[in-house]
């Protein structure tokens, strides 16, 4: 069957099997920033933004994304122009092995998109589904708190109120 989606702003058509999971389709198409840590929806390494919501792509049938807008970590920023979350994750020490990081970047970005002024509790809540075995989360939460400030500044600048 056919699957039509927009990935990071690009329209894509795939030939899929009804049993295919979205994670496999994405990784197979080169979106390898989307990681596999469990395949059971329990770790968040495979998180993507689908129509504005962070979801675990390992437990979604690809077919369920039909017509959807998908953002993966690759669509959030790149090494030349990283997003504030990506920048702060690096600078604040939120990254060790980095395997959980694409999922965390996605969850945090979805949070900030929806709620530009999250409290620390809301950040913790949003990241609760993203397991990280390396960092102990301390510096990841710091990083996202800093990214919230950073985003506020750039948004303010854009509106001319900074």
């Amino acid at each position: 069957m056919k699957l039509n989606v927009a990935i990071n702003g690009e329209a894509k058509e795939f030939d899929i099997h009804p049993k295919d999971m979205l994670l496999d389709v994405l990784r197979d198409d080169g979106y390898t920033g989307v990681k596999r840590g469990c395949s059971t929806g329990d770790c968040g390494a495979c998180a993507i933004i689908l129509d504005g919501k962070a979801v675990n792509s390992c437990i979604l049938f690809a077919a369920q994304a039909e017509g959807g807008k998908i953002t993966t970590v690759e669509g959030i920023g790149n090494p030349k122009v990283p997003s504030p979350v990506q920048r702060e994750m690096t600078d604040a020490g939120g990254i060790q092995c980095g395997f959980c990081v694409p999922g965390i970047v996605v969850s945090a970005t979805a949070l900030i998109d929806e709620n530009p002024e999250p409290t620390e509790d809301e950040i913790r809540e949003a990241l609760d589904g993203n397991l990280c075995r390396c960092t102990g989360y301390v510096k990841q939460i710091e990083a996202i708190t800093l990214a919230v400030k950073e985003t506020r500044k750039t948004r303010g600048a854009r509106l001319g109120v900074a």
Binding site: T32, G33, T40, T90, G93, G98, C100, D128
Partner: protein, 795 residues
């Protein structure tokens, strides 16, 4: 058996002792430079093992034993072979039998050779029976189901204390077994030492304490599961791209099991998604390798999360019996530890982990004149133990530091005062260092840096000890604080070796090639900083490339808290050697003595004339015009001391005495890791380790059914702490300067996983008066203990 002798330490000290004693004046080291791989990880472009495509890739799946102990009497693969898309099936009947250890240690390994790629006997639920390689993973799985296996089921033993009793089923009865202590008694390893006289010491002591502590199974849970891809290169050599901590050991072990020379194998380590010891084990690479050799196709093994739990490696569960004899004044005179490790079905790391239970913990209270240690490791029909961050230290400190609080209570002393009175200090040694190393005798060492007292002082204030010790709150929820102090090591003395190559490019940048394995620890950044400091350039000028057996020098790999200290030592030597070469070329150009020249910010500067010449011009000259040569050096480093980092951990808990639920409110760590090469990464190591230890202390456990099968092999049922469980956490680095380390550094990777179990246990005791001697501190256990305590004493 007493431990075997270690090779003699060379006469000359390995490194001259520097007079410097602080990090002041460092330009790159001790600064939070940008993590070299940070942005590529944050943006998802970093390449992990499975992020490259291999046309024609085969997928490998395993058939696992449903029985804890059985002999395979018949294996019939006819139906499986007929399934369309199946390319290769491996089982004991068609692979070479080479007994080996999967432990991924230096050679010769201190672990028994008790594992075959596939065996005719299975020893735990999850032991491998066969592997199928097929065009898709679904086909491989389906084919596994089609393999018919007949078993002769044998009695199994799950309890390590039962396993070593006479008459227990013998788990390793194969005649070609090598290196196990006494396989007929299921004893994989045994070690014992005694300094002074434990029994006399205990008899003379004013107070004697004796208790038993238990720690169960746990899995490392790197978020990237084990994964490897093998293929043949143009010259028909086997290339292994794998998530390993030990590329060079992986090459050696694969060569051994596949019976081909090391030179026919290349191991590549791309980015690795965490390991914590799990990826020190080499148990998948040779299976994929054999599929590739037989089919001439690329092949992949990617473990599922469930396989990570039941068919990979775990922390060795331990039963630790601790006895301590103290004087009335609180001086510890006698320490005696007896540890029984459960190594599961195979003995990987069995001897060394149990050794470390004593050798890491017992030197902490070095005033004790009598010290005894017996370590034993039992085979059982349960999952296989392996290296796990903390490596015996976790188990040893749990017993020792829990008992310290009981002693303090009995003597009416403050637990911190008792520790202050007894702990090891600067300039001091412990007889344990020489008596007990990793699987053999160790090396004596005196503490050349130690800020443990300061760690205790600072943590005491930060947790508000004096107040919180007495303040338990009103109502059913009781609060309390507890402490544990710790030490570890930096590398394995006399064994661990790292190599590094530094070479200068035309633009004044340097390639730094290291066998050291960054598996997420940040070692690429830390090693680049060490090179940058020694070469007087910003870290951006160092192009680090780590672990590819074809291109980088040897390194034992990432374990034993060795990378910063050992590999960093090699990097520093190589960089200093290159710096000398740069200076001598500059001396030629400037017609000055090299002694009168200094390196500064990518230039050589004359101290007299202030004339400057850039590394770029030095490089251009040496490569292209006069007295041509490549400015480069390879150096190796071994150390005969293992400078311990020190730490004090403080926990504040709230115990709901009606439900037994323990909530961790605050966690404070004060850590002396020498000079932190990258303070933020060092803090991150501490926080990650502590969080893992906290989760182990409170929730993580393997639950087995009566057949010995793990029933909670998923992240849903095996609870790792997440952001919502995170307590207020405070990490304070307490700087010291370790003269034996590169730029004053010691290790920090492991030590902080050892604190939470005792510190939280001590805090629970302080909060509600109950002492728990096994982890995890589940509500059920806590509540039972509370009930038992408040029940009227039985007549």
């Amino acid at each position: 058996m007493s431990p075997v002798k270690s090779p003699a330490r060379p006469k000359k000290p390995a490194r001259p002792v520097k007079s410097r004693n602080s990090a002041a004046g460092f330009k790159v080291v001790n600064h939070n430079v940008e993590k070299v791989d940070g942005i590529c990880l944050a943006t998802g472009v970093a390449q992990f093992v499975d992020d490259r495509k291999f046309p024609g890739l085969l997928f490998i799946k395993f058939l696992y034993s449903p029985h804890a102990h059985a002999r395979i009497t018949k294996i019939d693969t006819t139906h499986a072979e007929q399934l369309k898309g199946v390319r290769c099936i491996l089982h004991y009947g068609n692979v070479p039998r080479v007994l080996h250890t999967t432990a991924g240690q230096g050679y010769p390994e201190p672990s028994p050779y008790d594992a075959a790629m596939f065996d005719s006997k299975v020893r735990y639920v999850g032991d491998r029976v066969a592997a199928v390689a097929a065009e898709t993973s679904d086909i491989a799985e389906e084919a596994c189901r089609l393999i018919k296996v007949e078993y002769d089921v044998l009695p199994a033993v799950f309890d390590p204390e039962e396993a070593i009793k006479a008459g227990a089923p013998v788990i390793h009865d194969e005649p070609d077994l090598r290196g196990a202590h006494d396989a007929k008694r299921n004893m994989a390893a045994h070690v014992g030492i005694e300094v002074g006289s434990v029994e006399k010491g205990l008899a003379k002591a004013d107070h004697r304490f004796e208790d038993r502590y238990e720690l169960g199974y746990a899995q490392h849970c790197p978020i990237e599961p084990h994964v490897c891809i093998t293929y043949l290169d143009d010259r028909d050599r086997l290339v292994i791209r794998t998530s390993t901590q030990v590329p060079f050991h992986a090459r050696r072990i694969c060569a051994q099991v596949l019976q081909i020379p090391e030179g026919q194998i290349r191991v590549i380590k791309p980015r690795i998604g965490g390991g914590f010891g799990a990826k020190q084990e080499v148990f998948l690479e040779y299976v994929a390798g054999l599929v590739t050799l037989r089919t001439r196709r690329p092949a992949k093994i990617e473990q599922t999360r469930a396989e990570e739990f039941y068919a990979s490696r775990t922390r060795h569960p331990h039963i630790v019996n601790m006895r301590i004899g103290v004087k009335k004044n609180g001086m510890i005179e006698t320490l005696d530890m007896k540890a029984l490790s459960n190594t599961g079905a195979y003995g990987t790391h069995s001897l060394t982990v149990v050794c470390n239970c004593g050798s890491k913990a017992l030197p902490l209270y070095n005033k004790a004149k009598n010290v005894g240690f017996i370590g034993e490791a039992a085979y059982t029909n349960l999952p296989v133990g392996g290296a796990y961050r903390g490596y015996g230290g976790t188990q040893g400190f749990y017993a020792l530091e829990s008992m310290m609080d009981d002693i303090a209570e009995k003597l009416g002393m403050d637990p911190l005062a008792l520790r202050r009175k007894n702990h090891i200090r600067l300039g001091e040694s412990s007889p344990v260092f020489a008596a007990l190393g990793e699987g053999k005798e160790g090396y004596d060492q005196a503490m050349a840096s130690c800020k443990l007292s300061e760690c205790i002082d600072i943590g005491e204030k930060e947790i508000n000890w004096a107040v919180e010790r007495k303040n338990h709150g009103r109502g059913p929820v009781k609060t309390g604080v507890g402490c544990a102090i710790l030490m570890q090591g930096s590398g394995i003395p006399g064994i661990d070796m790292g190599g590094a190559t530094v070479k200068l490019n035309e633009d004044g940048s340097f390639n730094l090639l290291v066998g050291a394995t960054d598996l997420g620890t940040g070692s690429d950044t830390v090693l680049a900083q060490i090179a940058a400091e020694a070469l007087a350039v910003p870290v951006g000028k160092i192009l680090i490339y780590s672990s590819d057996t074809d291109f980088t020098p040897f390194d034992v790999g990432a374990y034993a808290s060795s990378t910063t200290y050992i590999s960093g030592g090699a990097v520093k030597k190589a960089a200093e050697n290159v710096r000398r070469q740069i200076l001598s070329v500059a001396a030629e150009i400037l017609s000055e003595k090299a002694d009168n020249l200094a390196c500064s910010d990518g230039h050589v500067v004359s101290k007299k004339t202030k004339k400057k010449i850039s590394y770029r011009n030095i490089s251009l000259r040496s490569l292209y015009s006069r007295n041509q040569f490549q400015i480069e050096a390879t150096e190796s480093h071994v150390s005969y001391v293992s400078p311990p980092p020190f730490a004090a951990h403080f926990a504040k808990v709230a115990v709901d005495t009606e439900t037994g639920l323990v909530k961790l409110l605050k966690y404070v760590m004060t850590v002396d890791c020498g000079v932190a090469i990258h303070p933020k990464l060092a803090e991150g190591q501490a926080e990650g380790a502590a969080m893992n230890g906290i989760s182990y202390a409170l929730t993580e456990e393997f639950i087995f059914n009566a057949r010995g099968a793990m029933v909670n092999a998923s992240f849903l049922d095996y609870k790792l702490f997440s952001t919502r469980d995170l307590p207020e956490m405070k990490t304070i680095l307490v700087p010291s300067y370790e003269p034996n380390g590169p730029f004053g550094a010691k290790s920090i990777a492991e030590i902080n996983i050892n604190g939470p179990a005792p510190a939280i246990g001590n805090a629970i005791k302080n909060a509600c008066g109950v002492r728990l001697r096994s982890i995890p501190y589940t509500p059920e256990k806590v509540l039972k203990a509370i009930r038992r305590q408040s029940a009227p004493a039985a007549a």
